[in-house]
């Protein structure tokens, strides 16, 4: 059974549609800007809330808007299952006396009581895990059509936390670069629809060949030096699909350890000559949304025969050298591998191919 993915939407500092964000990416635009908080400089990719008219929760508004836009791009007659991923959900609610606290309640407020939905909260690999879960549900015939949405917002909670880990760069992040100093926090939502029925999509979908996750079993906030978990996940994805991808959309946060680990993993799998990029200089690290936003941009890359570049990349800075380019390139592209890694030792990989 084939599983198709399409009807994509992104709402981010780079636009309100997948196409807008994609165009800005290939035109080397970044949502990362300088912000000052309590006399300290931060580089954050924030959405300007004043450009939106909404009441109540901005998080719920974004999720609702993105899902609505995606649903306009499909004709579905039967039931829809939803999988929503978010690392921190509506974390600001912790300061308010809300009736019900928790990601599932936040999602329920947007979707209502009827639809069946799952909520994934698994750190930075949540978005790709959500896509993988949708794939499994469809293949097991537990669902026909699944809407997957990954969303996270920047909050004081998250800024203060990553700051305490010395994980932030106060300038735009430089994945895989010698000069890299840390990550930038970002926010946004990425939504796509998966289905076994190609005909529901108004625009030709992409084929999802399967996704896998594996744990490093090494350290809760640092990756295995040799990228064992990532290697396993990628190997399984490559074996299941039997293809060599045209490009890799890596996790590439810009931290010393993550990028070094990824390069090590890709190198040892013999993937070091395949073009590898990170979209985090454009979007920042969008946590639970990263897996979906970055997958969707890569899908746009397939649609437009463009391999997105890694904005600002100049000097190769990983022990094992991999094929990173600064600029986006117009190249016939058939397929890509998406990878994510996150706290708790999780790693996820998935392969997408043009029909």
């Amino acid at each position: 059974m084939k599983v198709f993915v399409g009807a994509e939407n992104i709402i981010s500092p780079l636009g309100n549609t997948a196409e807008e964000s994609f165009n800005n990416v290939i035109n080397n635009k970044s949502g990362v800007k300088e912000h000052w908080i309590s006399k300290q400089k931060y580089a954050l990719a924030r959405i300007n809330r004043e450009e939106y008219s909404y009441t109540g929760s901005f998080w719920q508004h974004l999720l609702r808007s993105s899902i609505t836009d995606s649903l306009k791009k499909v004709n579905v007659s039967g039931d829809i299952t939803y999988v929503v991923s978010s690392a921190k959900g509506e974390i600001d609610n912790i300061n308010k006396s809300v009736d019900k606290f928790g990601l599932s309640h936040s999602v329920g407020a947007v979707l209502g009581a009827n639809p069946k939905y799952f909520c994934v909260s698994n750190a930075c690999i949540s978005g790709l895990l959500a896509i993988n879960l949708a794939y499994d549900l469809i293949r097991a015939e537990k669902a026909n059509t699944v809407v997957v949405a990954g969303i996270d917002l920047i909050s004081d909670f998250v800024i203060a936390g990553f700051r305490s880990l010395y994980a932030l760069d106060d300038e735009r992040c430089k994945p895989f670069d010698q000069r890299r100093k840390g990550l930038n926090l970002g926010e946004g939502v990425g939504t796509c629809v998966l289905s076994s029925d190609e005909s529901i999509f108004k625009e030709t979908p992409i084929e999802f060949l399967g996704g896998f996750s594996n744990n490093d079993a090494n350290h809760i906030s640092g990756p295995s030096r040799t990228g064992e978990g990532l290697k396993k996940a990628v190997n399984r994805a490559l074996s299941a699909s039997s293809i060599t991808p045209d490009f890799i959309s890596a996790h590439g946060t810009g931290t010393n350890y993550n990028d070094g680990m990824e390069a090590e993993a890709f190198y040892s799998l013999g993937l070091n000559s395949i073009p590898i990029n990170s979209l985090k200089p454009n979007f920042g690290h969008t946590l639970g949304a990263a897996g979906t936003i970055e997958t969707i941009i890569s899908m746009q890359g397939l649609r437009n025969n463009v391999i997105p570049g890694t904005l600002g990349f100049k000097y190769a800075g990983t022990e094992k050298e991999i094929n990173v380019h600064q600029d986006s390139r117009n190249v016939e592209t058939e397929s890509f591998l998406k990878t994510c890694s996150g706290f708790g030792g999780g790693n996820a990989a998935g392969i997408f191919r043009k029909l």
Binding site: S164, L165, Y166, H219, I220, S221, G222
Partner: protein
């Protein structure tokens, strides 16, 4: 640092790192805290940096310097002494 001050330093280490089962006497002055010693990891290192700033008002702004400074109770004590 006097042995009393070192004792206090050890109790701060135990508190900040939640080393419930470890007694002050078990932490040797010159022994390595990381790796085989107390088996501390990189998160513990960051927590120690917070402790040193909070309790002694001494900043370690670059955590990569931390490895040398945080090697043992003695190296931490020396660093604090030189910064004050």
């Amino acid at each position: 640092m006097s042995s009393e001050e070192k004792s206090l330093l050890k109790s701060h280490i135990i508190n900040y790192l939640n080393l419930e089962d470890v007694k002050q006497e078990e932490i040797q002055d010159a022994a390595s805290l990381f790796g085989d010693g107390l088996g501390l990891d990189s998160i513990d290192a960051l927590e120690l940096i917070v402790m040193i700033e909070r309790e002694y008002n001494v900043k370690i702004s670059d955590p990569s310097m931390g490895k040398e400074i945080l090697y043992s109770v003695d190296t931490i004590a020396n660093y604090i002494f030189t910064q004050k």
